[in-house]
Amino acid sequence: MRLIRTLLFAGVLAGPLFGGAYFLHYTNRSAPYAPAPEKFDLTALPEKTLTFFVSDDGPSGYGANDGYLSVLAQVRQAAQAWDGVPGSDLRVAFGGQFTPDTPQNGPGAQVVFEDLPPGVYGYGGPVSSGGLNTAGASPFFPINLSKMHISRDLTQPPGPSFTDSFYLVMVHEMGHALGLQHTFTSSVMSTVATRATSVRQPISADDIAGLAGLYPVKTTVAGTGSISGRILFSDTGQGVHMASVVAIRGGAPAVSALTLPDGTFQIDSIPPGQYFVYAHALPPTADIVNPKDPDGKDVAPSGSFGTLIYPGTRDFLQASPIAVMAGKVTKDINLSVTPKASANIYAVSIYSFFGNNAVHPGRFNSTNTKGTVVASGAGLGSNGNAADGLGVQAIGGAVSVSAVRPYTANGYTYLALDLRSNPMGGGGPQHLVFTTSGDLYVLPSAFELVAADAPAVSSVANNADGTVAIAATGLTERSQIYFDGVPARSQSIDVADGTASATPPPGNAGQPAVVTIYNPDGQNSLFAQSGSPLTYTYPDAGPTPVTVQPATLPGASEATIDVTGVNTHFAAGDTSVGFGSSDIFVRKIFVLSPTHLLVNVAIPAAAARAATEVTVMTGFEEVVLPLAFRIAAPVPGKPVPYPRLFNAVTWQQGTYPGAVMTLYGSNLQADGSTPIVSFNGQAAPVVYSSPGQINLIVPSQLPTGPAMLVVQNGSDMSFPVAINIDPPAPVITAVAVNGREVTVSLTGFPADAHPANVTARVGGVSLPATRVTAESGVTRVSLSLNANVPAGDQPLVVYVDGRSSTQATLTVSP
């Protein structure tokens, strides 16, 4: 999470789309090349959100303790992994089940379980149609459907679904569905041999950079850097097409890019620091779809070449580190590479052993000083011997390889790598370099250097209050308990006693769920217990019938659907609702109680008229209502309010009683009449209206929470839509100034506000809170004025968690 947080605040650089690992089309035939990727058109996705649906005819065979609910839960969590990636404007959601062949017109993504040809576990790839979209700054070919085909037989890999490997397969395949191809940095988009991500950190820096490059946010904050250059063949001086160029440093994941036909590249979204840069040819198992030329024909990679490290060496000790600075492009990182027939060493996996279980990628506990991991891959050796002249080194100095010992098992040749840890070295991913006289192969994140043994569950028992008592070794304060791959709803851990208490996610009576402990270092209790995991069995519970109302809506509508259940366990952030079609978009779910939801949905005018399947899922508690919802023909002239209000005062945020708000939509006013707007039946004074916009005053007596807004446009009434009513704006009661230090006193401010969530704006300059204290209903926010704040009388507003205070005036000294 540390990396993700860093990137979240850092943002990404805006810039031209270079040769990332995407499904590319070259729209011209000579340099400078203009690559256009295949990707989803964010303007065609509601709220820039792609929703994944899972076919309701699920797998036909499961391993022990496995089932469809676990499959669905893993797909939902995989979607969450790609949602909100720093620097990416794309959002990803889980839509529950769908019935295959349901007519739908919007762009979508699906997971289907099928009888596949023998020997095929799964396949998938994006479908694009239509021509080049040139509406934005970066042309692209729009994807309209991505479908992941998975074998119905989950007794075979990638099953069983409760393992982290099934989950990571789902994350990987979703990456393809979004428009990402394979990379060679051991990221989640790397192939199975080298992939090194985990449930606790499913995507790595390269995955983040890849998605951020494909769906960049419009406003970027300089906080990461870039490296650019060119890879040329030494004999001809020609550019190398589709060389993989990698930026790497010890103890951190690598970031990469592919070269364009003229050999140019740019690696973006690199956290600042010192990096080595190397270029390697695509391995024989790269499995990358070639870019297309303007005629739609393949543009193949250039021939193979020997891996080279900047500034032109095969020895990392002779390499020159490259400084990456926030907001800067480090240019002219050029390499002149020598052609060679093909790579000898590639697709190397590193394993470590927990009892009889081989775990990939390997882990080395540095507190043991010495340890052994096992390497397997093409070109490492044969017949029990290592490849001629083979040497193995670690990058960074945290670990050294003291011996390489080849051996055979089951007819294959493996290398046992004896490791020694450096007491002064750090932890994290460790990179290995394999060399022979004619080959150099770098394996990023080959294994993880950890400081403790993996956890193990020793007992699981049901408590009378519905919680689960767990005894385990290797618990930490930040361990996370999972039930069939889904995090516990709540948990408490006693590290000293080696015990924990957890509230499992809701499930169905009699359902067995494998209990797994995941530690922050990526290790989990299945490392040693995958053959005989301990399980929790859900107790008997009553049926969970659910009803939805209304069950029919027309195209071109915004509405709130009322969902009521019996014996259900709805919870904010834990309950998802889907309507079985990419034509019905769930904007927001309000959880009123464990048995009552309000669901705001949007249906476009072009939606296919169809009956669809409704899925309501909380943990493993799933209710499916076949053909329970219907899309009808649009109703001309019906008012359609967009279910979000915008504060009409430019510096104000939040929808609270008495606020002047703007409501957007269509048909909001008919024939020049003044529309009537109500919240929970209370009329809202309208101060301006047009067919597309109404300015109104929120009724002063509304309680906080969801309120149903209805618009009567003079000839027809809208469907009710739920609007969240915020608490009244905090009021600035006093401002004290001491030099450049300012203390703002407020009432109505959240007493538990964390300083990290509090900012102020003075004269248009945003300032973080340096201190927040609360006493007797008054909150004091401390600020330090910086040199950017203009002198004179300046407007002052304080923000907390998206809400703004009233405005005051601050006199700033020069």
Binding site: Y121, K147, V289
Partner: protein
């Protein structure tokens, strides 16, 4: 040496916490697996190809003039499909899907689904090009599998090239098929 012994012992009873993660993921099939799990095995020459859109996805079809049937039933001209391709303005990119060459003769291991679409068993694994060897004998061969192959334990394994006499393959198919039918 103790650690090495432990590793060997561990690998002997291997459970590997790895599973597929590619655009195409294949299970390693032995020659006998290919024979027994295919619904038809034919020898034939590729006549032409065309594409269709099925459920929003692209299928590339190859029409194959069948010259010999080693297992199952096949029309004189078999229609064999591969996922992906370009059908007009609709394109689907699936890394790792093999293609057949028009005019080339193959031995193909086939599997037909419940919808009546015929695929190649194990994708790359079920395609053997027919050619004449230096000694004049007909041979069948398959290049190394470039896709990631997993064995039954879920462990990545190398897909080695296959080359043998057409007659030998035919004999093997007959033997295994008889064994299966018994």
């Amino acid at each position: 040496m103790k650690a090495l012994t432990a590793c060997v012992a561990a690998l002997a009873g291997l459970y590997l916490a790895v599973t597929p993660g590619r655009a195409v993921t294949l299970q390693q099939l032995s020659m006998d697996d290919l024979i027994s799990q295919s619904t038809a095995i034919i020898r034939g020459r590729v006549l032409t190809s065309y594409t269709t859109v099925n459920g929003g996805e692209v299928l590339t079809h190859f029409k194959v003039q069948v010259s010999d049937r080693w297992k199952g039933v096949s029309a004189d001209v078999a229609d064999i499909v591969f996922p992906g391709g370009a059908a007009g303005a609709v394109r689907q990119s699936i890394p790792g899907i093999p293609q057949l060459q028009e005019g080339q003769e193959y031995v193909l291991y086939l599997w037909t689904n419940r919808a009546g679409l015929t695929f190649v068993t194990g994708f790359q694994q079920g395609i053997f090009a027919v050619s004449q060897g230096a000694d004049g004998q007909l041979i069948v061969q398959r290049p190394a599998i470039s896709e990631m192959l997993l064995n039954r334990g879920g462990r990545p394994v190398a897909g080695t090239p296959v080359r043998l006499r057409l007659q030998d393959m035919s004999t093997r198919v007959a033997l295994v098929t008889r064994g299966t039918s018994r």
